[in-house]
């Protein structure tokens, strides 16, 4: 059984319909630890020792956050800068995170289509997430494609429920070890791996 650590960063969680739905009842599930960063560190003063300990106790790490200005909210970046220390996470003897799995679970206002070379945002989500990918690589971790709920501005209740169910089954499969890493790495989004038919994401 794998243990999952969700590093969740949202400065206005109380206003986020999508993230609230995604995280509902998640923290209480066995094998999953929810680390609500903005609740834990309202002063941005991250307790590095605590975070390291948490990381060591889990095999799978999820950076869950809204996609703000093509990146994560500031506190998650602060977390990455502070916790992934040289000599611990990377560099000489920095092997403590070696072979742990990590990926981003994000929510974006725009749809999948606007994140494409021809689209409004010109680049794909994967391209925007390159800094996260390389950070994971630097720390000798295995980086998976992102899980994304997109077009949140126009999401209907049914669509949202669909995403919630997808995320829930993703977490289940990860906890139970029901996956093959090489297979997963091939998809663009974890959503596609779970739901090859592409379901409700509009073409």
């Amino acid at each position: 059984m794998n243990k999952i650590l969700i590093l969740f960063a949202h400065p206005r969680f109380e206003k986020s319909k999508t993230n609230r739905a995604l995280l509902k009842n998640i923290g209480a599930r066995e094998g999953i630890t929810l680390n609500d960063l903005y609740e834990q560190y309202p002063d941005f003063n991250i307790d590095i020792d605590r975070e390291k300990e948490l990381l060591l106790g889990h095999e799978i790490i999820i950076w869950q956050h809204p996609f703000y200005m093509y990146s994560s909210p500031a506190l998650l970046k602060q977390w990455i800068d502070l916790v992934l220390e040289y000599g611990w996470a990377h560099g000489q003897d920095g092997d403590f995170l070696k072979n742990k799995i990590v990926f981003n679970a994000i929510t974006t206002g725009g749809t999948r289509d606007v994140y494409s070379p021809g689209g409004y945002n010109r680049f794909t989500i994967g391209e925007f997430l390159v800094p996260f990918e390389q950070t994971a690589t630097l720390c000798k971790m295995i980086y998976l494609p992102p899980f994304a709920v997109q077009g949140t501005h126009l999401l209907t209740g049914d669509e949202l429920n669909h995403h919630v169910a997808l995320y829930s089954s993703l977490l289940n499969r990860l906890v139970n070890g029901d996956f093959d890493i090489e297979g997963i790495k091939k998809v663009e989004y974890l959503n596609d791996w779970l739901w090859p038919a592409r379901g409700l994401t509009k073409p």
């Binding site: 003063n45 590095i48 800068d81 220390e85 040289y86 560099g91 000489q92």
Partner: protein, 647 residues
């Protein structure tokens, strides 16, 4: 050590230990507890102490002497100057009018004008000991009535000097002052000479304070022996008192003056903390002996006359005080408190009456009667205040609760704030700005009136009273904030809340670290030391002013608070391992020492590697990766040349 001494000490201490807690539990205040204890162990009830109680009273009057020394110490001249109008105004009105009224009454009774005047002056004194103790216990020293009370008491305390000087003049009209057994140098002299001597003595105290006591204390302080300093402090008080007695003057006045002189010296706080415990115990002893000295056979022989005298004097005094309060524009509630609080005859009356008797102005029988009246009036005050708090004010003054209008649905607020001084009010404003309504408990009626006008839901009264807590909605609320200025009251409130309203989250303001320890021991988790955040914030700004970058300084401050809170929890446990009990102030000093050493050992900012790329630079020094791992930012708090940033 004689058997008798141990026997007496045993009885007095036992009386204090038994009766004071009972009185406190019944909400009566410690003064009444001491007085009742004294009455009960006195010659007329249990008879544990007999007539020698009077001797003990002379000994215990030393508590009053020490109290006046402390009051003197608190009277920095600059402080006094700021209060001069209040002191001179209310003080002279109260003393003057009360004396005139009592003078008239006693003339009617058939006293000579000298005796009537002397009695008027003596009886217009109020008891600094009782009033100050009561005000402090009720947390009312900073209210308007508290300030006015202090002003009047101060004026009286000072007025005793000229009164003592004037009394011998009254005796001139008698043929001669007969030589008493007193060895005082004064007693043989004519009135004018006595007056002159007194003024000389006062001058002597002031001069020797300036020229001798301060250099003496400096010398003692350099030896760095704590108990020696305590001894020196006691020596000054006792020495001054002795010299004053020798010339036949009130030792209380001498030490009061010595206190005023020393108020400006650097030893003020040290003297205060050294004398304080002695004063507390002796004052308690004094109250007990006042209780024990009440001559009940005299009362039983003339019950009506004594009762009439007590009532008459208390009514006159309270009436005049009420008018004085009106003149200095006290609100009705504050004025009631002021008038009833000061309505007793004070301990100085004992001194004055024995002096008056010595001068043969008053007969022995009347002296006895009036001293009895004084003692009884002192016992009555706490009862009057109690009646005022429970029955009079709730009806006539500021109501405990606001009258509900017919259509006003009583909504219970989730938060109760007990104490709305500078701490509670900031908190309350913050909550209100964020749309959280809080119920407020406060015992300053002026503030309560103001807050009600501003639309706050306010309950007036002592927050530690269970009925008030209940009607403030403690049963429905979620959070209770104990923000009262006095730590003792906060403890009391916490204890009662934990027992009776266990569902409430208690969040407590702590004055100091020791205060926080007490609260930790009581099982409170949410403790807020009022000085911690502010002083660290100031420290952060100091770093900034010295050129440290703001974020680094802020981070250092955040880490320091975190570290300090952790250290507090640790040291709180450590405290119980000490097998020696140390005095409060000494404990504080030892704690400081401990903290300062451990701060040096575990500098919370030294282990902060955040954004520190020194190590990394070494490894990647030859690789091009250095450019990819970001800027080099040093975490050590060195001044950063900020000018370079301005391009």
């Amino acid at each position: 050590m004689s058997n008798i001494f141990l026997h007496d000490a045993l009885i007095y201490l036992a009386a204090a230990v038994v009766f004071v807690p009972i009185a406190k539990k019944l909400g009566m205040g410690s003064v009444l507890g001491y007085l009742l204890g004294g009455i009960i162990i006195g010659p007329f009830f249990l008879g544990f102490i007999g007539q020698e109680g009077k001797d003990i009273m002379h000994f215990a009057e030393f508590g009053v002497v020490m109290m006046l020394f402390l009051i003197g110490l608190e009277l920095e001249p600059s402080n006094f100057w700021r209060m001069r109008n209040l002191v001179l105004g209310t003080g002279s009105v109260q003393l003057g009018i009360t004396t005139i009224f009592i003078f008239i009454v006693f003339m009617f009774i058939g006293f000579s004008w000298q005796a009537a005047l002397a009695c008027g002056l003596a009886l217009s004194m109020s008891s600094t000991a009782i009033v100050m103790q009561t005000l402090r216990e009720k947390g009312l020293t900073k209210t308007q009535s508290g300030k006015s009370s202090f002003a009047v008491l101060l004026f009286q305390d000072i007025a005793v000097i000229p009164i003592l000087a004037l009394l011998p003049l009254l005796a001139i009209s008698f043929v001669h002052a007969p030589a008493t057994g007193n060895f005082a140098l004064l007693s043989g002299l004519p009135g004018w000479a006595q007056t002159l001597t007194l003024l000389c003595a006062v001058g002597l105290v002031i001069l020797s304070g300036r020229l001798m006591m301060v250099p003496f204390l400096r010398f003692i302080a350099r030896i760095h022996l704590r108990e020696l300093f305590t001894a020196a402090a006691l020596l000054i008080v006792i020495g001054t008192a002795y010299v004053m007695m020798l010339v036949g003057l009130s030792p209380a006045l001498g030490t009061f003056l010595a206190g005023v002189v020393l108020a400006n010296s650097e030893f003020r706080h040290e003297l205060e903390s050294d004398i304080e415990p002695f004063k507390g115990i002796l004052l308690g002893l004094f109250f007990i002996s006042v209780g024990a000295s009440i001559n009940f056979s005299l009362i039983f022989n003339n019950p009506l006359m004594i009762a009439a005298l007590v009532c008459g004097i208390v009514v006159i005094k309270a009436g005049v005080l009420f008018i004085t309060g009106k003149l200095s524009r006290l609100s009705f509630d504050q004025n009631l408190l002021f008038a009833l609080g000061l309505s007793q005859v004070g301990e100085f009356a004992f001194v004055l009456f024995s002096f008056i008797h010595q001068l043969n102005i008053l007969s022995a029988q009347w002296t006895d009667i009036l001293m009895g009246v004084t003692a009884i009036s002192m016992t009555v005050t706490p009862l009057l205040l109690l009646a005022n708090e429970r029955f009079i004010e709730p009806r006539c003054g500021t109501k405990e609760n606001e009258e509900k209008e017919a259509d006003d649905i009583d909504v219970s607020n989730p938060v109760i704030i007990a104490g709305f001084g500078h701490f509670g009010s900031t908190l309350g404003r913050f909550l209100r700005a964020n749309g959280i309504s809080a119920t407020i408990l406060d015992n300053d009626s002026d503030r309560v009136d103001l807050l009600r006008k501003m639309g706050f839901k306010v309950f007036y009264g002592d927050a530690t009273r269970i009925d008030i807590l209940k009607s403030a909605g403690a049963e429905e609320a979620k959070v209770l904030i104990a923000a009262i200025d006095s730590p003792e009251t906060n403890y009391d409130l916490v204890e009662k809340t934990k027992k009776l309203f266990p569902h409430l989250t208690i969040m407590v303001r702590a004055k100091s670290r020791l205060d926080a320890y007490e609260l930790l021991d009581m099982g409170v988790n949410d403790i807020y030391r009022e000085s911690l955040d502010t002083s660290v914030r100031l420290g952060i700004d100091v770093l900034v002013k010295l050129g440290v970058r703001k974020y680094s300084a802020t981070r250092a401050g955040q880490n320091f608070i975190k570290y300090d809170e952790a250290a507090m929890h640790e040291l709180a446990q450590h405290r119980h391992n000490q097998d020696t009990y140390i005095f409060n102030t000494r404990e504080q000093i030892q704690l400081q020492e401990h903290l300062l050493t451990s701060d040096r050992e575990v500098n919370p900012t030294l282990n902060d590697h955040a954004w520190d790329s020194d190590q990394m630079t070494n490894e990647y020094a030859d690789a091009e990766s250095e450019t990819t791992t970001g800027n080099q930012v040093s975490s050590s708090l060195k001044p950063f040349p900020r000018n370079n940033l301005k391009h």
